[in-house]
Subunit: 143 residues, 2 copies
């Protein structure tokens, strides 16, 4: 069966990079997480409740601490939405663990580096009311 | 006295747009807030704890509700930091009211539209520990 048309759009490419981020998170894959973050642009990160982390080394060190825990947990990204900018993109979504309702709102910003979408900024913060997991998440959330 | 050199850099221009956002917020200036958000790019907004607002009309309507309250309150932006992307920029900062310690972490994303930096995305979420107001905030936070 041929690939659906949308897999070739910039939006689909951004969603694939976004999904790779949550896959690296879920699998505790430090190398994949490192490959995902930009190298030619400064990167920053706001973990929930925390102050800003600046710079690739500090950002990846913090991610390593989070995802390399003995028992990685599934981090879902529901309702991923893409805003395309010139050679950059914003993905907004709700983050949830396993099959529980999403408890965080997230912003992920990507830039094109050498033809690849790479993350330059992440912010996640608590939702006042958890958002139920979609009954049938669109395939773009899963790839 | 001549203007400091940095006022002509893209970073300084982004910081001015960012400061205009907090000025519109503080002054309850609905027109200025409207002029600040992008028109050629989709806009989105995560208010603290809330789900995503999409589209210029919905985003501005929500801001109007927030800033047009009878008693506008000062919303500061401390430690504003700029990441320049191709024709776009991310500003991260801590938001606080009046002279109280900052209680929110914020991401503001801007794009260049017709030579002006305009906002396309905002997310603010609670800080676990408030961040003290800088003793002598840099002038770029105030302009």
């Amino acid at each position: 069966m041929s690939q659906p048309k949308e897999t070739s759009t910039p939006e689909a490419a951004v969603l694939r990079a976004n999904a790779a981020f949550y896959r690296a998170f879920t699998q505790g894959d430090v190398a994949a997480m490192g490959a995902l973050w930009a190298e030619e642009t400064e990167v920053t990160c706001f973990h929930p409740g925390a102050t800003l982390i600046r710079g690739r080394s500090a950002v990846l060190s913090a991610w390593k601490q989070i995802i390399a825990e003995p028992a990685p947990f599934e981090m879902r990204c529901d309702h991923a939405h893409v805003q395309l900018l010139p050679r950059a993109a914003i993905v907004t979504c709700y983050e949830g663990n396993a099959d529980r309702p999403a408890h965080l709102a997230a912003t992920n910003v990507f830039v094109l580096e050498g033809g690849r979408w790479r993350m330059v900024h992440h912010q996640a913060g608590p939702l006042s009311r958890p958002v139920a997991r979609p009954v049938a998440p669109p395939s773009s959330d899963l790839n």
